[in-house]
């Protein structure tokens, strides 16, 4: 796709017949160059920014957004949107906190303290269930994704508040004699000096890339996001793909929730509020099209790093959080603007409202 957009640009502006390749390269690699620019500017502004330890700290913040964003990417590739991931992230932390406090079975008069891996598995399963609800609403009952996941977002947040009565679980470390220690491992430990959260992000990134590029499921996902009717008639199980995508997004959100509550050593019912928007922003900055069918993991990871490194940088140089909001917003708008430039040639000149028509010769 790249070369035809390039040629079209070239034919439109014969002036750039040679220099344009650089412009095209900058446009295509915009998330990457934005990241370089951010690092350069903040390294210049603050002596603390450019250091391995700071990068690792920032990366462990990024990991949360990145994991959410990779789940979101799958949904967006499918042509949907998942607004419930922030709530799912919160609920996942709450469930973990709840289980860490011990589950009292009144009938038997015992209190069970599940070990950490059980807690992790149950939280992820919960994320999958939330995703399943989204997926079934959207695929089977044809509720628009925006509305379905908006509703689920409220419900899930409400459940988190109900479970805790609005309070926060502060004791997540477990006790050695109960055999449920180790929850902090996710947030604090390092392997080869790299935070576990970052490693999880890398792992999910690798798996995600493999799934998208090298499996039938990945191809199905791109196809049904690009043109659902055509995909269905080609034998793609579009409904199953759609449900799977929301489940995977839910699982990613649950994993992010576990890492976040472990990093914070506490689980609050309002954790992750509005994170879904950050995740969407990362996906968009990464070059994915909200109409579906276009995007990849690499871009999304870059998008998450752009957002994370920018906001951490602003904190480090001491800019007010109000300005941070403004800057982040600006970056998002700029990213969408550039997406529009990149995909412009796909819009047909004749008026056309159908989203399936994006791949036409202009």
């Amino acid at each position: 796709m790249s070369n035809s957009s390039q040629t079209l640009q070239r034919s439109r502006s014969g002036l750039f017949s040679d220099g344009f390749d650089i412009g095209q390269m900058l446009l295509k690699g915009r998330a990457f160059f934005a990241l370089i620019a951010i690092i350069a500017v903040f390294s210049f502004l603050s002596p603390y920014y450019f250091s391995a330890s700071n990068f690792l700290t920032m990366a462990s913040h990024v990991a949360i957004y990145a994991i959410l964003a990779m789940g979101m990417l799958l949904v967006i590739l499918n042509g949907g949107i998942d607004l419930s991931v922030g709530s799912t992230l919160g609920l996942s932390g709450i469930i973990a906190g709840f289980l860490m406090q011990g589950v009292t079975l009144k009938a038997l008069g015992v209190t069970l303290y599940p070990s950490v891996w059980v807690v992790v598995v149950l939280s992820c399963a919960l994320g999958a269930v939330v995703g399943l609800v989204n997926g079934v609403l959207i695929a089977r009952f044809r509720v628009p994704a925006f509305v379905a996941t908006l509703g689920v977002m409220y419900v899930v947040r409400g459940i988190a508040l109900l479970i805790t009565n609005g309070l926060t679980y502060n004791n997540l470390s477990g006790q050695a004699d109960l055999g449920n220690t180790g929850f902090n491992w996710l947030g604090f430990n390092r392997l080869f000096n790299i935070p576990i959260g970052v490693l999880v992000m890398i792992l999910i990134g690798i798996i995600g890339s493999l799934v998208l590029n090298r499996t039938a499921f990945g191809r199905w996902l791109y196809a049904s996001g690009g043109n659902e009717r055509a995909a269905e008639l080609s034998g793609v199980p579009t409904k199953r793909v759609q449900i799977m995508v929301y489940m995977l997004s839910g699982i990613c959100a649950a994993v992010a929730g576990l890492i976040l509550s472990s990093q914070l050593t506490s689980a609050g019912p309002t954790a992750g509020t509005s994170y879904e928007l950050t995740a969407i922003a990362a996906v968009v900055i990464g070059g994915a099209a909200l109409t579906g069918g276009r995007g990849n993991i690499r871009g999304t990871l870059l998008g998450a790093f752009v957002i994370g490194f920018l906001s951490d940088g602003l904190v480090i140089i001491g800019i007010s959080s109000y300005w941070q909001t403004v800057f982040t917003g600006g970056v998002i708008v700029l990213a969408v603007l550039l997406n529009a430039v990149q995909y412009k040639k796909r819009a047909k000149p004749a008026p056309k409202a159908s989203p399936q028509q994006t791949g036409k010769p202009a």
């Binding site: 796709m1 070369n3 035809s4 390039q6 040629t7 079209l8 034919s11 439109r12 014969g14 493999l210 090298r214 499996t215 039938a216 191809r219 199905w220 791109y222 196809a223 996001g225 690009g226 043109n227 009717r229 055509a230 995909a231 269905e232 008639l233 080609s234 034998g235 793609v236 199980p237 099209a289 579906g292 069918g293 276009r294 796909r346 047909k348 000149p349 004749a350 008026p351 056309k352 409202a353 159908s354 399936q356 028509q357 994006t358 791949g359 036409k360 010769p361 202009a362």
Partner: protein, 511 residues
């Protein structure tokens, strides 16, 4: 439009293009083309798929700009900034691919971007009135308030034509306007075209229905690989001339393959109905049909005869009412589309943009989509196997492309159609159903595709295809089914005549 300014009555050429070149990277779609549009006449552009016809028309109508070359309108050099600019100069175009907004009504589509305004807003009543009269002119019973997505493909094409007619243009470019129209609708369109040329409007016409085009045209121009290779007065030429200049040799559409026996019944439809838009009506009405392995069956019928609905019902796209659909002796009605494909039942849909192609993917990814599970080794896709299949398919259905990685949108319309056919053939079906497979493909490619189907039939593939062109019924089909109002109206063997077939479909036989 009735009174053309005297100033340009003088020369016969209203618009001319000189040395037009259009390149997409290393693809040279046009290599220095000279083309004239004759005032008040029909100029037809013939050429193979990918010859550059649409590209040239898009340049003349301001949709794209040429890499180099000059255009003169009424003897004055001109440059169109965009299609609106060209429209303001009196040039409008009917695109090969429909460019309608499916969610909007017929009326809104016709007046999109040119709404009739009053001081208080859009004058919907006037728009509806004009839309209605356009529909009457085209002899089509379509309510202007119907959303376009509820119309059949042929009717959508009519709306597209109506939109171009609603602009009073001096030059009207029609890029395959009839690819989804029935013979009688084409007759109506031709009447409209004669009326327009009578009023001094110049027409450029493109079609792969060569005989049909020959009826209407005054001048013929042949484009081959981006060059004009022949021009002639329509009086001096015949079909053979066109084909010879287009592809260099003569093609016939083949004859039914012989020399083997049909196998068991591969596809058996028993008493199947499909509900119509109104409660209690049927678009497919208690229809039964058997097709044996190795047999090629053609379904002919007018628009609205229920062909598409029948074929989509067999493939699992639309639900059936009652009856049975059996594939090699077992019931498939409960299976999903994917399961039917896995069982060996494949459909090539009618509307390639909406149902056939994933526009965001490459040529290769489109070709392998339906058979993708065949390339899974362990967990992952084998790219080598996939690439082999893509190469083979591109060769088999003769897709003109720079390679499997090219975006599907860079292909000419006919080549996109070939990709859809190749994709379904790659699933190795036992029964293949093709809904208007020849839509938009050139004579050579049509012959290739039919030959391919005939060859596969010899090895036991059951083929069912539908067509609106009688000539195509009498090519490779062993048996011709004529559908009318959801029922089988008549059945013919391969030695039927065109007249018999058309009469059975309830169509006025055209001379």
């Amino acid at each position: 439009m009735d009174q053309l300014p005297a100033s340009y009555l003088a020369p016969d050429i209203v618009l001319s293009a000189r040395n037009v070149v259009k390149s997409y990277g290393n693809t040279h779609a046009l290599k220095g083309v000279n083309f004239d549009i004759h005032r008040g006449k029909v100029t037809t552009l013939f050429g193979e798929n990918g010859a550059g016809k649409s590209t040239l028309m898009k340049i003349l109508s301001g949709v794209i700009s040429p890499t180099s070359g000059a255009i003169t309108l009424d003897g004055k050099p001109i440059h169109f900034a965009n299609s609106t600019d060209a429209r303001d100069h009196g040039i409008s175009i009917i695109h090969q691919e429909l460019s309608l907004a499916p969610n909007l009504s017929v009326r809104d589509n016709i007046f999109m971007g040119r709404e009739i305004m009053t001081p208080t807003g859009v004058n919907f009543a006037e728009e509806a009135r004009q839309a209605q009269s356009l529909m009457e002119e085209l002899e089509e019973e379509i309510d202007p308030l119907t959303p376009v997505e509820e119309l059949r493909l042929g009717q959508q094409q009519i709306v597209e034509i109506a939109r171009a007619l609603s602009v009073d243009s001096r030059i009207l470019i029609m890029d395959e306007p009839t690819s989804a129209l029935s013979a009688s609708e084409v007759e109506v369109l031709f009447k409209v075209i004669r009326d327009l040329t009578g009023r001094g409007v110049s027409i450029v016409y493109i079609s792969h229905h060569l005989e049909e085009a020959l009826q209407i045209t005054d001048y013929a121009v042949v484009l081959r690989d981006g060059n004009i290779t022949a021009t002639a007065d329509a009086k001096d030429i015949d079909l053979e001339w066109i084909v010879r200049n287009m592809v260099g040799e003569n093609f016939d559409l083949g004859s039914p393959p012989t020399g083997y026996d049909f196998g068991e019944v591969a596809l058996s439809i028993r008493d199947v109905s499909v509900a119509g838009a109104l409660a209690g009506t049927f678009v497919v009405d208690h229809l039964s049909l058997d097709v044996r392995a190795g047999e090629i069956v053609c379904i002919y019928g007018l628009m609205g005869a229920g062909r598409t609905e029948l074929l989509e019902c067999i493939a699992g796209r639309v639900p059936k009412i009652g009856g049975q659909i059996m594939l090699e002796g077992h019931e498939v009605s409960r299976l999903t589309i994917a399961q039917r494909i896995a069982e060996g039942l494949a459909l090539v849909p009618e509307d390639r943009q909406r149902d056939g192609l994933v526009q965001t993917m490459s040529v290769g990814e489109n070709l392998s989509l339906a058979s993708i599970t065949n390339f899974v080794r362990g967990l992952f896709l084998s790219t080598g196997l996939e690439r082999n299949l893509i190469q083979q398919s591109i060769k088999a259905v003769t897709v003109k492309t720079s390679g499997g990685d090219a975006p599907i949108g860079s292909l000419s319309g006919g080549n996109q159609q070939k990709v859809v056919i190749g994709k379904m053939l790659a699933t190795n079906p036992r029964v293949i159903i093709l809904d208007e497979p020849s839509r938009g493909i050139d004579v050579g490619a049509k012959a290739e595709v039919f030959k391919l189907l005939a060859e596969r039939a010899k090895t036991g593939l059951a083929v069912v295809y539908s067509t609106s062109e009688v000539g195509e019924c009498l090519s490779i089909a062993h048996r011709i089914i004529v559908m009318s109002r959801g029922k089988i109206a008549a059945e013919f063997s391969a030695d039927a005549t065109k007249e018999e077939i058309m009469a059975a479909s309830g169509e006025a036989v055209v001379a």
